[in-house]
């Protein structure tokens, strides 16, 4: 077993001792969300600023089905993953033909389309107040009402998602997506239909976002409107970048730091997004490359010092 994986396992066991189980769960849920976003951001080099579209859509649909139709947790997860993938396919279809700044703006604008739909469709989504009353149905006789049991469930799914994403990034698809990031023209010339592969990256990333969305709705028992807002999309980009978008574990580390920090800040001050904005600016100014790189830089600096 490799070192990062071991560290993650240890964190999973220690985390509930340090923070409330809800926050601990939120960390791993956000990490699943980050894994999906990073497939686009880091691996394919597509700066999607609309990831909450897939997260939020899945949360609403699966939440609604649990709340109104009383489906079980397994079906809810399947539905959420499906909705995440489907909404990503729709958004991706419109975006993959565009590049650079147009692509960023388009993913954002389509995020707004979904946001305002949720905002106005109050009879289902509850609009600004969110959609309350999402249950946490049992699965195979296991009752998830106990926060620690739910935490175990989330952790397990996170490990599964991590394993899957590892396989995907090490598969031919992972190589092809990175080839597109490295040189789109050449990737096309050697025989890859680039728009179609970008679309595939959207769909796979969307499925991960969908899974995260359902787990989020079950965790808090509500789908807040902000789960589909562009701020949420920005957050996952931020979490991925502070962790380091170049590696598989980057978004995991980023989510860990981001959720922990924002949860502690939000209890201190209602205007904490201001601090978040300051954090974004500071990271861009001083911590480009993310924590993973900063850590490597620190160690090379230290070891060079010791040699002197």
């Amino acid at each position: 077993m490799k070192k990062p994986f071991l560290l993650i396992l240890i964190s999973i066991f220690l985390l509930p001792l340090v923070v409330r189980p809800a926050i601990a769960s939120e960390i791993w849920i956000f990490a699943i969300f980050g894994l999906g976003a990073n497939l686009l951001l880091g691996y394919t080099g597509l700066l999607s600023f609309g990831q909450s579209t897939f997260f939020g859509s899945a949360a609403y649909v699966a939440g609604w089905m649990m709340k109104v139709h009383g489906i079980n947790a397994f079906l809810a997860l399947v539905a959420g993953i499906g909705v995440g993938a489907l909404s990503a396919a729709a958004v991706g279809y419109l975006c993959v033909q565009r590049s650079g700044l147009y692509f960023i703006m388009l993913t954002f604008a389509l995020n707004q389309l979904f946001y305002f739909t949720a905002y106005q469709w109050t009879s289902v989504t509850g609009g600004e107040d969110g959609m309350p009353g999402v249950p946490r149905p049992a699965l195979a006789g296991i009752d998830f009402k106990d926060p620690l049991i739910y935490y175990a469930f989330v952790s397990l799914l996170f490990l599964l998602a991590l394993f899957l994403m590892k396989r995907i990034t090490e598969s031919p698809l992972g190589k092809i997506l990175q080839a597109i990031r490295e040189n789109e023209v050449r990737a096309e010339a050697v025989g890859y239909n680039v728009p179609r592969f970008k679309l595939l990256a959207f769909v796979v990333g969307g499925a991960f976002s969908g899974l995260a969305g359902v787990l989020y709705a079950m965790l808090f028992g509500i789908v807040p409107l902000e789960a589909i807002s562009f701020v949420f999309s920005g957050n996952v980009v931020f979490a991925t970048l502070i962790g380091g978008s170049g590696s598989l574990y980057g978004p995991v580390i980023g989510s860990f730091v981001f959720i922990w920090l924002s949860e502690s800040m939000s209890t201190v001050w209602a205007r904490w997004p201001l601090l978040l904005g300051v954090a974004f600016v500071l990271v861009v100014m001083f911590l480009r490359g993310g924590l993973v790189e900063a850590w490597t830089r620190f160690w090379t600096w230290r070891s060079s010092k010791q040699r002197d």
């Binding site: 590049s99 960023i104 389509l110 970048l241 904005g277 954090a279």
Partner: protein, 285 residues
């Protein structure tokens, strides 16, 4: 009949404001090659500044001059202190920076002016309606239509007919060329960002008496400005006007019959247009 006509006029008025926003954004985005997520926040600050200054000095017209200049100065400061260092960074970090900035600005608005929106009345001379023959129509909106039209036209004159405008257009097409001509590209960037902020400020100031003030107005307008650029093309003046008017009028018409859908329709129209014409209205990347 007169109802539909009035709605179309409404659409044209807001459409011109959208065009103004899109134009400013497309100058900044096109010339500096950065995704500016703070453009909406600058718009909101323009609106709040207008109301504050107008109340403080008791004159709408002077406030209408001062507020956009204030926003432009803020824009210059932002460019000087931050964005200037990010030209070499990837779009991801530029995005994060301007997004962070947008958060700081919107939260500052709440801190300074409070979380609850307020309305702001147009000056006395522009209150009430004017009889256009086929319909009564609010005077202030007619004024906005004309003012925005004049501004768009002035921007067009500046870009097409002046030397510096030509340099700016060249900056969108080919930055290397501009540097080769011996023009200080850094100065060009600063001017472009200032101009973009100024346009956002004016659009915000003109909007305040129509829609009032609320902290959410920035993000809302940001999305619309993105739609205008995505449809019209970077640095494409005609595209910005066409896109602005299309979504403005579509929004007004839908709002007349189905109020709840009036915001969604902006993005739905965009999605439909892109489905039919993936290259945008005037054939862009």
């Amino acid at each position: 009949m007169s109802f539909v006509a009035a709605q179309i006029l409404n659409g044209i008025a807001t459409g011109m404001l959208y065009a103004l926003m899109g134009l400013g954004l497309s100058l900044v985005t096109g010339i500096l090659n950065i995704p500016n997520f703070a453009h909406g926040a600058l718009f909101a600050i323009g609106a709040y500044l207008l109301a504050t200054v107008a109340v403080a000095i008791g004159n709408f017209w002077i406030a209408l001059l001062i507020a956009p200049v204030g926003v432009a100065l803020l824009g210059l400061a932002i460019e000087y202190a931050g964005i200037r260092r990010l030209y070499a960074a990837g779009h991801d970090y530029q995005l994060l920076f301007t997004f962070g900035l947008a958060l700081i600005l919107s939260e500052s608005i709440i801190l300074i002016w409070g979380p609850i929106g307020s309305s702001y009345l147009p000056p006395a001379i522009l209150r009430g309606g004017a009889d256009l023959g086929f319909t009564m129509y609010p005077k202030y909106r007619l004024f906005v239509m004309m003012a925005a039209g004049v501004l768009v036209f002035a921007t067009w004159l500046f870009l097409e007919k002046t030397r510096y405008g030509a340099i700016m257009r060249a900056g969108i097409e080919n930055k290397e060329m501009v540097s080769l001509l011996g023009i200080d590209i850094q100065k060009l960037f600063t001017v472009a960002f200032g101009l973009g902020a100024w346009l956002a400020g004016i659009a915000g100031a003109l909007t305040a008496p129509i829609r009032g003030l609320n902290p959410g107005m920035g993000p809302d307008m940001l999305g619309i400005a993105f739609v205008v650029v995505a449809l019209g093309g970077l640095g494409n003046l005609l595209g910005a006007i066409a896109a602005g008017l299309i979504i403005g009028v579509a929004q007004a018409l839908v709002a007349a019959y189905w109020t709840e859908a009036s915001t969604v329709v902006i993005y739905a129209v965009m999605a439909v247009i892109l489905l039919v014409r993936p290259q945008g209205l005037f054939g862009i990347r």
